[in-house]
Symmetry: C2
Subunit: 196 residues, 2 copies
DNA sequence: TTTCTTTCTTAACATACATCAATGCGCAAC
DNA sequence: GTTGCGCATTGATGTATGTTAAGAAAGAAA
């Protein structure tokens, strides 16, 4: 069996997953490679998969009426990215999911996860925890957007995603923080002056 | 059996819930009354319940370091309000949950929901849908905060929660939208001028 | 190397929204 | 009725961030 990151992801979080179920899982998943810049999903498509990032870096973002990009989230290796709205509610997606670097992605059909959940209680609990965790993180971000300045949000980003910071262009970080790239540049300059 | 709103909430969303399980459920829940202004939860307490609003109106909010309030959400009759972070992860809460009007609330222990989920697949799916829906709504709000002006956010609020708008002071709506009460007042004035 | 392209920085100016302070309005208590 | 209190409005002013436009750096391509 190939040494997938997903294997580690599952076995270290779910008890009672044997090699057999894992092999079954991988049989039903396809492994896809994307060049940096390519899209996994675009608006109005139906998202049919969860994407587990084996290698590389994905980004989910929206474009508003004024033509501006807003990054929903980043996902580096070892992360699971989905457009839950589209997958769960079978609605056309509102988002782009794009490979920022050359990436290798495991395409997982929701059915496969459902089947796994049915036969393994521990996986089901894990799945539930993923959801709860997602909610926690979204609420944290809302709080930040409501209460923190651009600088505070940037500092929080550095602290939370130091690895990602180094791998994506500043412009994209700016669209995640909800500020103009020029403003981010200013924020960084201010911080540099302060610390010296 | 008393005619609870929660009964409707459950039977209209979950198939195969019989009166027996409902009675068992209600046996394990307590019904509490709160005066307008009273707190169900305050920061640093451990939230041990889900709150189903039978009557009245609840609000969940945080106070940031600068002393400003930020409303996370409102919950009128027929809504379920929880501090998921505190309940699920057994952490002290960061939030206030307050009765805005005189309210009657069913206090539900998470264990009770878990037990119900174990014996009823349909309830489990419903519970899952609640989570997915919550995520959808939070993402929608993040998008709004990232992309929309104060006026646009207010218009969205009116459209989405017309009933709530009439029941809470403007100050609280402002803390939900993430703007100063004075700004909300001006937004409203502008809209009034436009439409006339 | 040189060229071309993308990203980042900087500065001048514009704008949305916050803050502060004063006034007005509705409503309960007396 | 009058008083007092909470909430909404309004105006003057401040500030953070957006916008526009130009140039500098850093990579990629040739």
């Amino acid at each position: 069996m190939k040494n997938f990151r997903l294997t580690t992801f599952l076995t270290s979080n779910v008890t009672g997953i044997d090699n057999e179920s894992l092999n079954l899982l991988f049989d039903k998943c396809s492994l896809k490679k994307y060049k940096g810049g390519e899209y996994l999903i675009q608006p109005d498509e139906n998202c049919q998969h969860s994407f587990f990032v084996e290698k590389g870096l994905l980004r989910q973002y929206a474009i508003d009426k004024k033509g501006k990009e807003h990054t929903i989230q980043f996902a580096p290796e070892g992360w699971l990215m989905t457009d839950r709205e589209s997958v769960f509610f079978s609605e056309p997606s509102k988002y782009y999911i794009q490979a920022i670097e050359d990436s290798t992605v495991l395409m997982i059909e929701p059915k496969v996860f459902e089947a796994l959940a049915k036969e393994n209680k521990s996986f089901q609990r894990f799945n539930n925890r993923l959801l709860q965790n997602h909610i926690r993180q979204l609420q944290y971000r809302i709080n930040l957007l409501l209460s923190a300045t651009a600088e505070e949000r940037y500092l929080d980003f550095i602290k939370t995603y130091p690895d990602i910071l180094l791998r994506v262009p500043q412009t994209m970080v700016a669209t995640y923080l909800g500020i103009a790239p020029e403003s981010l540049s200013r924020v960084r300059k201010n911080l540099a002056n302060k610390s010296s």
